[in-house]
Structures are given as structure tokens and as C-alpha cells.
Symmetry: C2
Subunit: 410 residues, 2 copies
């Protein structure tokens, strides 16, 4: 045995050790490990035996250095503690795991600087793919990625240039649907707490809100009825307090994500007011608590898990060499109606009948209890309404079905 050949204590066992043990060259070991067909089965078996006997584990670093490609994805998202993103992460993790990739978790806090740092890290780590829920990414870094053949897809939020694959939810349609529902339920002084306007989610939800108002022949009662929040609980609370302090208040509000909805709700409770009699609420994101808060919250539910899974599949297909035009998978949100938007009963406001809009949706009430286990996503205690107009579905080659691949354990 040669000096280096022995699996000496402390030293990692390398491909050389295996080669010696099996009496072959390192090249052969590598071939066996990588499934190169043209190697004698007898030899291959011997190698395999040596591998298991020595407990050999190839060094990822060496492989990465040689192939210039790490079997790793960078996952760059604004907030790991937001359930919307963690559900996405679950979808991504499941797909990545079964395809043999691991994930580097990058939490940007919606901070451009951290985002930049993490993009650079991805480059330095030679990751083979990046999944980005962008805040305000440096275009030059994106370009460098592409020129270096790093696959990159966006998720949840579009990047301004729109030149990447991505998986999104139709936020405009979701917001429009929410507004239609509020109007149908008799609310007519609508406000909106949206997210930062440098995110497409923040913009699109506001756009949908405004366009639905216009389509129904309405105007904003007061410019102050549009509030720009920060997608965080504190922001939702702050903006709701602002709305409540107006001399003439809205009678309903669309809040553009789950955390802000929670904050808004807290502000209302703190002010001693009631939902929906003093203020109706439609939130975005159907978080698990929505059905048991007081009152249960009507919301635009996003298929977050599938959003993640779809983006991961887009990435996989790019990594596997697909080089067609850019693809955008647009998933359809669902309005889940609960009590925070119960029919307006008060006589103070005349019932506002919107021309051309009939209350197309009826509250089918409770039912369908449990269902988080392995099931898809029937949430508890809500009437479910698929988005009516399929409109903006900009995908090509790929349908928006979100069935493929059952979701494990969870």
C-alpha cells in the first residue's frame, strides 16, 4: 500500500483509497460512481463493494471545482418567517430534494444590499441554479449570472425586465375578484393597503384594486384610502391606524398580504371596533389561522406550495438544458369567503348596487373540516371560488395545472 492509500484516521477517505482497495484506477472509480456505461460489471461490483466498505463519500468541493458546477441552488427570498414564503420553500425543497439538489437559504429582509450579497455568494459558490423572489436585484448581477450559464428563475414577484422564467400568481385578477366581492356584499367605500410599489406583487394588487373600481364605475373616495405598507405586521397595523384616524373612514379594505392583515386586524381590535360591521376586510394569502381568527377572514388564497414547486420545475428544466424562450407560469388565486366580509347590513350607507355585477357568490358556510395532512389544499371553513376570467395567463408550452407530483408528508 502506498503512503496515501490507507484510510488513515482523521483523513477523509478519498477516491484514491477506493481505487486501491478495489485494485483499479481512480478513473474507473469515477466512472462507476457516475454511471458511465462502458465499465466491466465485475469491476464495477468490486468498486461498489470497496465504496461501501470504506464508507466513501465523494467530496462535493472537488467535484464542484472540477465541473464548475455545484449541485446546489440558491434560494433568495425576502422573509423566511412569512408563511407564504415558507410554503413556497416547502414546494421548492420537495422538488429539489427529489432531484438531488440542495438549497442555500438566503433571507434578504427585502434589503437590496443583502440581496446583492447573496447573489454574489451564489456566483462564488458556483451554484447551478438560483430561485429568486426579487426585491430590487442588481441587473448587472443577473446578467453576469446568465452569461456564466447559471440558470435563474423568479418566483412570486416578477423582475422588471421580465426576461427570466418565473412562476407567479395572477395578482391583478385576485385583487379584482376581492373588490367585486366587496361591492357585491354592499361595501362601497373601499380602501387598499398594498405592499411596496417596487415589488410587482404590491403594484399588481393595487392595480387590480383600482381597475376593478373603475370597471364598476367607482372612484377612490379619498387618495388617502390607498396605503403603501411594507408587507409586515407592523406596517399593516400602522396603515390601518392611519385609515382609522381619517375623518371619513372606508367601510372595507383590501390588505395585500397575510402579515399586514394580521396587523390591520390588531389595529381594529385595539381601536375597539368590529369586523365587518365597522370595517370589512379581505386579505391576501390563506394562512392556516385565517379560519379561526375573529372573525374568520375572507381572503385571496394563493397556491404558495405550487408556486414554489412550479418555479423549481422551471429551474430544473433549464438546468437540464432546455433553451426555449422564456416561460412564465401563472397560477390562479382563489377567493375564500368567510365572515370578515359578511353582507353589509347597516342602513347608514345606502346599498350600493353596482351595474353589471350581481352577487355571483354565495357563502356556502362551514363544512369540510380537517384537511391539511397529505391532502392538496382544501382549506377549512370557506366557500371557494375559482377566479372567473382566466385572462392574463401568459404561459407558453406549459399549462397552469398544478397537480403534478403529490405533496409529501407535510
Amino acid at each position: 500500500m502506498r503512503a496515501r492509500g490507507v484510510n488513515q484516521t482523521g483523513g477523509t477517505t478519498t477516491i484514491i483509497d477506493v481505487a486501491h482497495a478495489a485494485g483499479v484506477s481512480t478513473a474507473t472509480v469515477s466512472r462507476v460512481l457516475n454511471g458511465d456505461a462502458r465499465v466491466n460489471p465485475a469491476l464495477a461490483a468490486r468498486v461498489q463493494r470497496a465504496v461501501t466498505k470504506l464508507g466513501y463519500r465523494p467530496s462535493r468541493a472537488a467535484r464542484t471545482l472540477r465541473t464548475q458546477q455545484a449541485r446546489v441552488w440558491a434560494l433568495i427570498i425576502p422573509d423566511v418567517s412569512n408563511p407564504h414564503f415558507t410554503d413556497m420553500v416547502r414546494g421548492i425543497e420537495d422538488v429539489a430534494y427529489s432531484a438531488g439538489y440542495s438549497l442555500i437559504l438566503c433571507n434578504t429582509d427585502a434589503d437590496a444590499e443583502k440581496e446583492r450579497t447573496y447573489l454574489e455568494l451564489a456566483l462564488a459558490e458556483h451554484v447551478v441554479g438560483v430561485i429568486l423572489a426579487p426585491t430590487s436585484p442588481d441587473p448587472s448581477l443577473i446578467e453576469e449570472m446568465l452569461s456564466r450559464k447559471v440558470s435563474i428563475v423568479t418566483v412570486d414577484r416578477r423582475i422588471s425586465s421580465g426576461m427570466l422564467d418565473g412562476a407567479f400568481v395572477n395578482n391583478v385578477a385576485g385583487a379584482e375578484q376581492a373588490v367585486d366581492h366587496l361591492l357585491a356584499r354592499g361595501y362601497c367605500h373601499l380602501a387598499c393597503i398594498t405592499g411596496p410599489t417596487d415589488t410587482t406583487t404590491g403594484r399588481d394588487r393595487l392595480d387590480g384594486f383600482m381597475s376593478a373600481l373603475r370597471r364598476n364605475g367607482l372612484e377612490l373616495d379619498d387618495p388617502a384610502f390607498v396605503r403603501i405598507g411594507d408587507f409586515r405586521e407592523s406596517g399593516g397595523q400602522r396603515e390601518m391606524e392611519a385609515l382609522l384616524s381619517l375623518s371619513v373612514r372606508p367601510d372595507a379594505v383590501l390588505v395585500a398580504n397575510n402579515l399586514m392583515t394580521l396587523g390591520a386586524l390588531k389595529a381594529i381590535v385595539a381601536a375597539g371596533l368590529e369586523v365587518p360591521s365597522d370595517m370589512a376586510i379581505v386579505g391576501f394569502d390563506d394562512s392556516s389561522w385565517n379560519a379561526v381568527v375573529h372573525p374568520p377572514l375572507t381572503c385571496v388564497a394563493q397556491p404558495a406550495y405550487d408556486l414554489g414547486a412550479e418555479s423549481a420545475r422551471l429551474l430544473l428544466s433549464r438546468i437540464d438544458g432546455h433553451s426555449g424562450p422564456n416561460r412564465e407560469v401563472m397560477l390562479v388565486p382563489t377567493l375564500r369567503i368567510r365572515e370578515s366580509t359578511a353582507e353589509r347590513s347597516s342602513a347608514t350607507h345606502a346599498r350600493h348596487t353596482v351595474p353589471g355585477i350581481r352577487p355571483s357568490v354565495d357563502d356556502a358556510g362551514g363544512g369540510n373540516g380537517r384537511g391539511d395532512g397529505k391532502a392538496r389544499s382544501p382549506q377549512t371553513g370557506a366557500a371557494t371560488v375559482p377566479t372567473p376570467r382566466g385572462a392574463t395567463s401568459a404561459l407558453q408550452n406549459r399549462t397552469t395545472r398544478s397537480t403534478k407530483g403529490a405533496r409529501p408528508t407535510r
Copy 2:
């Protein structure tokens, strides 16, 4: 210029390019980059200029291969979509980021096989550290880690052998406190929905529950009052349904984590019952929705962010060479009292007065609204009670204070 020296399109710019551009050797460049003091300032400046001009980024893979150490931690947790763990992750991420480490996210679904796979991955990736919230880890892999000088700490859950550094919450004390509170509030037929008994969290919370009963001279009304759940929403719902279907029901229940509490609550609502009049609830984990569900939930709040941050600091110190005896940081949970455990009013059960226990806590009601922003963790609308007996604090060298390092943005 030599053939390889030029930053040719497609080729990554390497340390050699920088060396050429700056007119020095690669060794010098490396020294400058790694902050080796003994290099001429003038040269160093030239190198730095070349680095920025060429946009040079060192290859992590090469560095890892050479040093046998990736500046990466593996973060192995059971469930990324559980807010308790994501809050922990936030704490870990913050510490890791500012120390220049990146995280590989490993989601095990409490599945031993996935856990094993990920531990092997950590080994193959040459990660320098592992943070593990264990389910049922393979001891031989742990030992291999240690013998390979990979630092490893546990968090949230203890590993049976107890031979690793770790950060935990005093679950026994938390559960005891919850029971004392329920008894003080007049409930005397107590049940417990705990987690899998192969997790220390599941066991400890049940232990605390039982020991507090005993200490107060009580027995379990019915063996079926102890339910083993799975820490998931569906499990909580299922076990609560089981409790509700008993001929003689408990009048209060301690539920051992946030998701199961949600499930349990849904089961109660679905059965048309009321909290707390039909069934009082104390949960574990103070998730953001606890204050706005109906009714607001009393819970044992865990400092999840700090739990993560502490474990990360333990890991850092090991990586930095600390080699003392094992350290366990034990954090103190806090009982937050809300309406799900309002004073028992019904006359059907005689008011059970527990000897030696006086209702030491008064419901101080609302107040203190917003406070998630950059603030520490004052939660909304709850009376806060620190654990009385500091008991099991097994740490050495290190206090349990959890102040160091302000928590950014969130």
C-alpha cells in the same frame, strides 16, 4: 499576457488574472484577500484595485477543497413551514450572515431517512458546522461528524446521548406553569395533547404536565386524556376529536405546539363547542395569530428567535476553537395569559382549590399594540409571566441572557 491570464469571455476570472493585473504572485493576492498582515500596503492597494477592476470573486469550491472547510452550516430542522422553526431560522440566519457563513437548508419532515441523508450531505459538503433540531439521528453519523472535526450543536430538542452543545427551552417548567395556571383558574379535569415521544420536546412537555398534576395532588382522570400527536395541525385536530368523543370529557387541555393548537381549535369549532366554557386551552408557542384568534389563546411562549441565535453562537464558538466541556443554554419560556383560559365560571364543577397555588397572575388585558418591527418580542395583548423557578438551568460559562445583538429589520 499569458494565454490564461486574460479575462476571456465565459471563463471565470481567477486569482491568476488578478495576480497578473497587479503584477504580483497569486500567493500575494491570496494573502491580501485573507487579510494577512505582513504584506506591503502599496502592493495590497494594487491588488485590491485589480480585484475590483476585474470583478474578481474567489471560488468557494477551490477554497473549500484546499482548506477542507466550507464556510457553510447545515441547518437540519423538521419543518420549515412551522413558525416556531422559522423564527429559529431567522435567529440562526442573522448570526450566520453577520459571521460570513451561509446556510444549507435541510427539511426532514421528521423523517429519519431524510435526516440521515442530510447528515451525509453535510459530511460530503465539508460543512464546517451543523445545527440540528433532531428527530432520530443516527448516532454513528454524529460520531463521524465529531471525529471529522465538524462542529455540531443541537437546538430545540435534545439528542438522547446528550453529548452535544445545545440551546433549549425549559419545556418541563413551561408545561408545569401551564398546568398550575389552569388549576388556578378552576379547571381540574386536565388533558394533554403532546408531541411524538421520541422527541424531547414531546416528552418533556408531557412530563411537566404529569409532574405538575402530581405535585398538586391530582391524578389523570382517564389514561385517554393523554394524547400523542404529531406536532402537525392535522394531528392536533385528530387528537382533539378523540378527546371530544370521550364519554367524560376533560375541561381543559394543554396542547404541546402551535400547529396542533390550531388543529385542536378547529376541531372544537367544528363540534360547535366554545372555548373556554366547554374546553379551556393552553398552547405552546406564541405565534403571531394567537392574539387575534377566537378566543385569544393563552400559551407558553418560547423565545424561538433567541433559541436559534443562541445555538448559532454556540456553534460559532466551537468553530472558533472553543474546546471546553459541553454547554447547554436553557432559555426560559413565558406564560402569556389570554382568554382561552378565562376563569372557570360554571357551577357544574366545584371550584377546585389547589393547596399551595394561588392565582398569582392577573389578566392585565390589552395594551402595548404594535411591536414587531425592530423591537424584541413584546407580544400583543397578553399578560406576561416569567417562569418562577429558574430550576434546570444547566448552562456553564454562559448566561441565559438573550440580549446580545439586536435583531434586524424583520
